[in-house]
């Protein structure tokens, strides 16, 4: 069952420029999201991957209307979230929660952990008084902290523990979906492993769905049921994890996968090093946005009227590249 469905989701930001430019109408737009269609299913982990600046976080935030989309819709239980009032949207947030990358800056240092977790219960009127305090203690224990930690302040905790507090806050209102924005990338490997295990346990217990925004593909392969690959505000490949991590590939996915440093000194893989860096989203390349760095592009790729659409290559697996079969014939299967 679909939990959340985005249709043509678009987000353009004005670049910060001088008053004169604005006056003269020279305002430029950062095209962070360009008509993204995506669905998140009940109880699944959907990973969203891509390089920095590709629009992953903007997509996560726009899906929950932490940012207003420029165009497009997000459907949740039949309603278009983009047309809900502020009050209606606040009520809806009890189902749709967000965990941020940096657990230090997302927790107010002046509040105790009990207050931080309890705040979510107050805002949504989930529990009051004694019941509220009991629930806070339960939540802390659920995420692997101690109930007695409720009286401490965020700075008394390590990075991994702070991320657990962030997760407890999100869990407090019993959500259906948690958007996890790089939840482990600031953590050491041994701590990362424990947070990943915790997320898996919570999913099994509460039937949560996750949108897992990440740049580390080894982590993604470990946690995700499905993967969506983004490049410059467009989805270039979507499918079950196994399908995305094996042929056929979008050339960008293939390059990303080949770049992962494997913790194996004897590993020998063909690395595809992409030329240059991600082009500016202010003025993205015409046609397929990836054609300027694509190892299998031909002349016509830059001449199309728009970025290619996602086309099914079998079942649930879709690739936005008409020439995806060139990847295997050029670089082989893995």
């Amino acid at each position: 069952m679909t939990l959340l469905r985005a249709r043509g989701l678009t987000k353009h930001y004005p670049t910060e420029e001088g008053l004169l430019d604005r006056f003269l109408g020279n305002r430029q737009w950062v095209r962070a999201l360009d008509g993204v269609d995506l669905e998140i299913r009940e109880g699944e982990t959907l990973a969203l991957v891509g390089e920095s600046g590709c629009g992953k976080s903007t997509l996560g935030r726009t899906l929950l209307r932490l940012e207003e989309p420029t165009a497009g819709s997000v459907y949740h239980r039949g309603d278009d979230l983009t047309s809900l009032s502020t009050a209606e949207m606040r009520a809806r947030r009890a189902d749709l929660q967000y965990v941020f990358q940096n657990p230090t800056s997302s927790l107010d240092p002046r509040h105790t952990v009990g207050e931080l977790v309890g705040e979510a219960l107050d805002v949504h009127g989930v529990a009051r008084g004694r019941e509220r305090d009991d629930r806070v203690r339960d939540l802390l224990e659920t995420v692997g902290l101690r109930a007695s930690h409720a009286n401490r302040y965020p700075h008394e905790f390590s990075g991994g523990q702070r991320q657990r507090i962030g997760i407890a806050r999100a869990l407090a209102v019993d959500p259906e979906l948690i958007v996890c924005d790089e939840p482990v990338s600031a953590l050491d490997v041994s701590v990362q492993a424990r947070i990943l295990n915790l997320l898996a346990d919570l999913q099994a217990e509460f039937g949560l769905a996750y949108l897992f925004i990440a740049h580390d593909l080894s982590v993604v392969e470990h946690v995700a049921d499905r993967v969506a690959v983004m490049y410059l505000g467009e989805l270039v490949e979507v499918g079950p994890t196994e399908a995305v991590f094996s042929p056929p590939y979008h050339p960008y996915t293939r390059a990303l996968l080949s770049a992962i440093p494997e913790p194996d000194p004897l590993w020998e893989g063909d690395r595809i090093v992409l030329d240059g860096s991600v082009p500016s989203p202010v003025d993205p390349p015409p046609g397929c946005k990836f054609h300027t760095r694509c190892p299998v592009a031909s002349e016509d790729c830059g001449e199309w009227e728009s970025h290619p659409d996602l086309e099914s290559v079998g079942g649930d697996h879709a690739i936005a590249c008409p020439y995806y079969d060139r990847v295997e014939s050029t670089f082989g299967g893995d």
Partner: protein, 342 residues
Amino acid sequence: MALLEVTDLDVRFYTEEGVVRAVDGLSYEIERGERLGVVGESGAGKTVAGLAVLGLIDAPGRIEGGEVRFKGEDLLSASDERLREVRGGEIGMVFQDPEEALDPVYTVGEQVAETIRAQTDLAESAIRERAVETLDRVGVPDPRERYGDYPHQFSGGMQQRVVLATALACDPDLLVADEPTTALDVTIEAGILELLDDLADEYDLAVQFVSHDLGVVAETCDRVVVMYAGRAVERAPVEDLYYDPKHPYTAGLMASVPRLGADRDRLPTLPGSMPDLVDVPPGCRFHPRCPFAEEACTKREPPLVDASETAADARADSHQAACLAYTGDLSGDLDFEVEVRE
């Protein structure tokens, strides 16, 4: 004689909370052209070890003991002037954040030229020429045109290449690289690692590669030192370390990394966390988290000793671990396995 010999290095920071023993009795050496990985988690002391080699420990930190010998010269007793000569000259350095390493108000070319100027007596035109060549060497496209660009006009990956150019401009023998690709995307990281590899081969450059990323270290390094709570717990050639770790901490670390193609529902984890370096546990510092710890581990601090299984393996590039299992003081056996490939 090795290019760099560090013996019993002891670095402490005098803070309000107490004395932080950031590096405690660390010894290692790096041969010419060799790439040594220094791995560990936050607070292990790996960055401080790199800074100590460069003479860059500032108050409240102090080097309290040990030796750092570079080409036989004792750097710890060298004058500030001599140290400045060595840094940027025979020893180059690259840190995690290129934006912090580059001065935003100077052009990138000028910043590379500046290190050459400080180290040589070349004429201005020759300095400029050499700076352009160095930018070209590290893969900055159109170096002559981009010489006059400012750091903000470069992407993160290109900025890190410029930092590398400043480090390599005077043909150093040793490069201290502290998490040089951690702030970069994998695609950009791949390019920088490949470049480091080529440069090290081409110029017989030795690298002290500080990283928390086991994947990057596997790819880049010849030998590895694993640090935990200020001490070296294992030293080995890279293949031995990854395929046959001897210290329980290393084994735990290796097991907790998600690997492509591995079909595991849960990741094995280490309990607890890195101790506070103001107040380290007695005996083996890892014992509170170690699944094999015994009474003896709480009392005796294990020395770094040979952990090779057969005498034939115990050569110069031996495999060493700091665990009582290898001094005969443990009654049980270490029983762990690491699967690198399925």
